[in-house]
């Protein structure tokens, strides 16, 4: 703009943007790849003009003032084109001439990203890299009094149970009386949590499923994956691989018409049914698939028209009281599969979680409780929900587990923890800490996307455009031009890498604690933290 013109309130300078493009004209070959790949058109090819003055102290010499023009890359400063820091430009540049750099100053874009009165919506998770889980240490090392085990050569059984486990006495009674005993699955304690077909691209979804199938069939690791709320492709529903899948039903019931109709044709029962009541990333808010991503395929699987946004209600329409409707819903889902499939609710972590747990404790058909903490990820939510709503996972899991101990049901209702597990890359340490705090297993979502597909999102607000269908890695896009970037075979390979390496690390944690024959659920004497208040809150040791 010119200096004598009026300004729009949302006219920003480069200095106001959270990400700034560093561009070197010297190295640029003007190939145009960066502008083509940028998901938000933050950069464009521009003609720059430069005035070159040539003067001399010798008066007889001629003074010239020439104009030189050259081509180069310019960053746009409009709100809708603000750079998201994904660095795809740097990835495609053959000469390393371009890269985004985080603006160390105040991000002023924040004040303007509500154009037309629509607050910011995005994917990703809470923009904070703080993690209590990262601060928990494993302090009870077996030293001489009992020998530490060899993580590489000892035998380990790192499995967990998904399903309602009766008390030993009650189970014995029902065995004698040949009564109904709730179904229980023996599974790997790291679960790929619900990410829907729709939120994820077809290639990503296929890759995850292939990876899980390989882990089960070739490596005998009983890894399970949850579908999320978006139905399940009909061929998978009718395949033997369904047993590795946890079908999720949420408040939009997307895809459930297809699932119910497929029941008579199912060769295998699904691993379990997860009823989603809440999500850690946006507690008390429903699922959201924005219209950009609802293409023909997604619309068909979900049973909805094409090109419309799909906001699930914050709660199930039938739900007016937890006592009745949750029990009814759990019972209906159990009944649909002849009481052979575990059914459990997933809720967002909340100070009210205990009430839910106590309610489930009295219901034999409730097979567990998945709790998703404030650091959980999402494909689309309002930023305000993501950044400010929710409850940390560690204390929520601990409260629930200690409550189960109080009522003597710690082995009966498995609690699964999710939400920011491994958010700073320390997946196995975070998972082991949660297990020792009382979780029976952990769910991951974003970590799988980061490790298996190269998602570039961070807690520094990088990328986070999963909601718009423009994922530069093709992970959360429904645009074939984008998702073709992702080869499902490669994703499957990385999923296998992830689980195999996790398994080794988990053993490297439990072996020095002297544990090998069972997952150390609730082994809180092994944990310590360098914060007195946190130690007291979690009932673990304070160490400095």
């Amino acid at each position: 703009m010119s200096s004598n013109r009026s300004l729009e309130p949302s006219a920003l300078s480069l200095n106001d943007l959270p990400w700034q493009i560093r561009y070197s004209n010297d190295r640029c070959t003007l190939c145009g790849q960066c502008t083509a790949v940028c998901p938000v058109q933050a950069i464009e090819l521009k003609v720059f003009q430069k005035r070159i003055l040539k003067t001399s102290v010798q008066p007889e010499k001629k003074h010239t003032a020439d104009y030189d023009s050259f081509y180069g890359i310019r960053q746009k400063t409009r709100v809708e084109n603000a750079c998201i820091g994904c660095a795809m430009c740097a990835m495609v540049c053959p000469n390393d001439a371009i890269a985004p750099v985080k603006n160390p100053g105040l991000d002023r874009l924040k004040f303007h990203i509500n154009q037309n009165g629509i607050p910011r919506r995005r994917g990703g998770r809470r923009n904070s890299s703080q993690s209590v889980l990262d601060r928990i240490k494993f302090i009870r090392i077996s030293m001489l009094t009992d020998p530490a085990l060899d993580a590489g050569r000892h035998e380990f059984e790192m499995r967990t149970l998904l399903g309602r486990v009766l008390s030993p006495r009650e189970n014995m009674k029902r065995l004698k009386e040949k009564g109904w005993i709730p179904p229980v699955r023996e599974i790997y304690p790291l679960i790929i949590g619900g990410m829907s077909f729709g939120a994820l691209s077809p290639t990503m979804w296929e890759g995850l499923q292939m990876g899980v199938a390989y882990l089960n069939e070739e490596l005998s690791m009983p890894v399970r994956i949850c579908t999320g709320e978006g139905g399940c492709p009909p061929r998978l529903l009718r395949s033997r691989f369904l047993k590795y899948v946890i079908l999720q039903i949420a408040s939009g019931y997307f895809g459930w018409d297809e699932i119910i109709h497929a029941i008579p044709h199912m060769k295998e029962d699904p691993c379990a049914i997860e009823i989603k009541y809440g999500q850690g990333a946006k507690p008390g808010d429903g699922g959201l698939l924005m219209w950009h991503k609802v293409n023909k395929l997604i619309a068909a699987i979900r049973g909805v028209p094409q090109g419309v946004s799909l906001p699930s209600p914050p709660t199930h329409q039938t739900q007016y009281s937890i006592e009745e409707s949750v029990a009814k819903m759990i019972l209906s889902m159990s009944m649909a599969w002849g009481f052979r499939v575990p059914v459990y609710p997933k809720i967002s972590a909340s100070s009210t979680s205990l009430a839910v747990l106590n309610n489930l404790a009295r219901n034999d058909y409730a097979s567990g409780l998945a709790i998703d903490g404030e650091d959980g990820g999402t494909g689309a939510a309002y930023t305000v929900s993501m950044d400010h709503m929710g409850h940390p996972i560690a204390s929520c899991i601990r409260d629930n587990y200690l409550n189960l101990i109080k009522i003597g049901k710690q082995n009966e209702i498995p609690i699964f923890a999710g939400g920011g597990v491994g958010k700073n890359g320390n997946l196995s340490a975070n998972a082991a800490a949660l297990i020792m705090l009382g979780a029976s297993g952990v769910q991951i979502g974003k970590y799988a996307m980061q490790a298996a597909a190269g998602c570039v999102g961070t807690e520094e607000d990088r990328c986070n455009v999963c909601n718009l269908g423009i994922c530069p890695k093709g992970i959360t896009s429904q645009d074939p031009r984008l998702y073709r970037r992702l080869d499902p075979e490669d994703v499957a390979q990385r999923i296998v890498d992830l689980f195999v390496s996790f398994d080794t690390e988990l053993k490297k944690i439990v072996a020095p604690l002297g544990r090998s024959t069972s997952l150390p659920i609730g082994m809180s004497d092994a944990l310590g933290i360098d914060d007195l208040a946190a130690a007291e809150r979690l009932s673990i040791k304070y160490v400095v």
């Binding site: 077996s142 009094t145 009992d146 020998p147 085990l149 000892h154 035998e155 059984e157 499995r159 149970l161 486990v165 009766l166 008390s167 030993p168 006495r169 189970n171 014995m172 065995l175 004698k176 005993i181 229980v184 023996e186 101990i405 109080k406 009522i407 003597g408 710690q410 082995n411 604690l513 002297g514 544990r515 090998s516 024959t517 069972s518 150390p520 659920i521 609730g522 082994m523 809180s524 004497d525």
Partner: protein
């Protein structure tokens, strides 16, 4: 790691035999304490098999409070042994006022109670005395059970046995369990000394129990008043034994399936696979992660030894009909039963439970892969 020795004999023998065994295994314990269980008593106790015997350590004030309490409950003293200690103190053994071993006449009407009810009441009396003692630090009670004596004290086993004068006829017994302690903390709590006793079930262990916290949490939340204490991580082994046999009606052949269940591959091949997978799931918090060698006795006076899955602790069983010993080390067994056929010694491995029944004729090995006597 502590050292363990247990024996089961047709004829009552002196507890000094077990002490002798601990003495030869001296390298494996540091003389920081000894625990003794005597059952199948000979001598005067032979004539009063139904009279519960209270074993413990009391101060003068404690014994006064005990007498008042027991009288209130309606118990009358039937017989007592006084362990007279020498006037000169031995270094390393604390001075106590009274080591009590006293048999009581049951209160009126109690002899008509059914076995279970009587057992429950005796346990509750023991717990009450323990609670009273913990309040004022004047009483410690180790057992209150018919035909059972327990002695626990700090010190070197041999010195202590001489100090307490254990080599006396009244203390001869058919079942003897003894542990020589390897102390892992300086403040020694006698309630942390093995063996541990609950309603006729008794175990002692060596090794550290790495899964102690979840097991303790599970037992404490069973709502059973006897599952308390846990000054030692090994106390849970006695309580798991009691829970699996009385709470779940399992046999001793299933104890190992509770504490160290088979892994999936072996489980699938087991003749009782269905039952065992239920047991493994429902008793998951009772899985010990070792490394532990557990020696125990049952109300019918069977003696057994099990190892955990890792089998990192030593343990050997040997003897001859009429006399069998269970020992941490072979030298302990050699010291007590030198004339046995050593080729028949058995070192139970990770799948074995070695049992010598009340008839004391042979060592039965119950392999975890074999079919079970199901309580169904």
């Amino acid at each position: 790691m502590c050292r363990l020795f247990a024996l089961t004999s047709h004829d009552p023998v002196s507890p000094m035999l077990a002490i002798k065994a601990l003495d030869v295994m001296k390298e494996g314990h540091d003389g920081s304490g000894v625990g003794l269980l005597l059952q199948g008593l000979g001598g005067p106790f032979e004539e009063m098999k139904d009279a519960p015997i209270l074993s413990g350590i009391f101060t003068e004030e404690g014994i006064r409070r005990l007498d008042l309490f027991m009288m209130d409950q309606g118990f009358l003293t039937k017989y007592k042994i006084s362990l007279k200690t020498p006037k000169t103190q031995v270094e390393g053994i604390p001075k106590r006022n009274l080591y009590l071993i006293r048999a009581y006449e049951l209160p009126e009407g109690w002899d008509l109670l059914d076995k279970e009810e009587l057992a429950e009441r005796l346990m509750m009396i023991r717990l009450k005395i323990r609670e009273m003692g913990e309040e004022k630090k004047d009483m410690m009670v180790f057992s209150f059970w018919p035909d059972t004596i327990m002695i626990k004290e700090i010190g070197d086993p041999m010195q202590l046995a001489e100090y307490l004068g254990l080599d006396r006829k009244e203390l001869h017994a058919r079942i003897i369990m003894a542990q020589g302690r390897q102390n892992t903390n300086y403040a020694i709590n006698l309630y942390a000394c093995h063996p541990f006793f609950i309603k006729g079930y008794c175990t002692m262990t060596n090794g550290e129990n790495t899964a102690f916290t979840p097991i303790k949490d599970f037992l404490l939340s069973r709502g059973f008043p006897g599952y308390v204490g846990y000054a030692s991580d090994s106390e849970v082994f006695a309580h798991i034994l009691h829970y699996s046999m009385t709470g779940l009606g399992l046999g001793i052949d299933a104890y190992k399936h509770v504490i160290t269940p088979l892994q999936e591959e072996d489980l699938e091949k087991h003749p009782d696979a269905g039952f065992l997978s239920h047991l493994k799931r429902t008793c998951r918090p009772l899985i010990i992660d070792g490394p532990n060698c557990v020696i125990g006795t049952l109300p019918d006076h069977s003696l057994f030894m099990v190892q955990d899955r890792k089998k990192l602790r030593p343990g050997v069983v040997g003897g001859r009909p009429g006399l069998f010993g269970f020992s941490s080390e072979i030298c302990g067994l050699d010291a007590v039963i030198p004339d046995r056929d050593k080729t028949k010694d058995i070192q139970p491995m990770h799948l074995d439970t070695a049992i010598v029944g009340p008839d004391r004729q042979e060592v039965n090995i119950c392999r975890q892969t074999e079919a079970l006597n199901l309580p169904l």
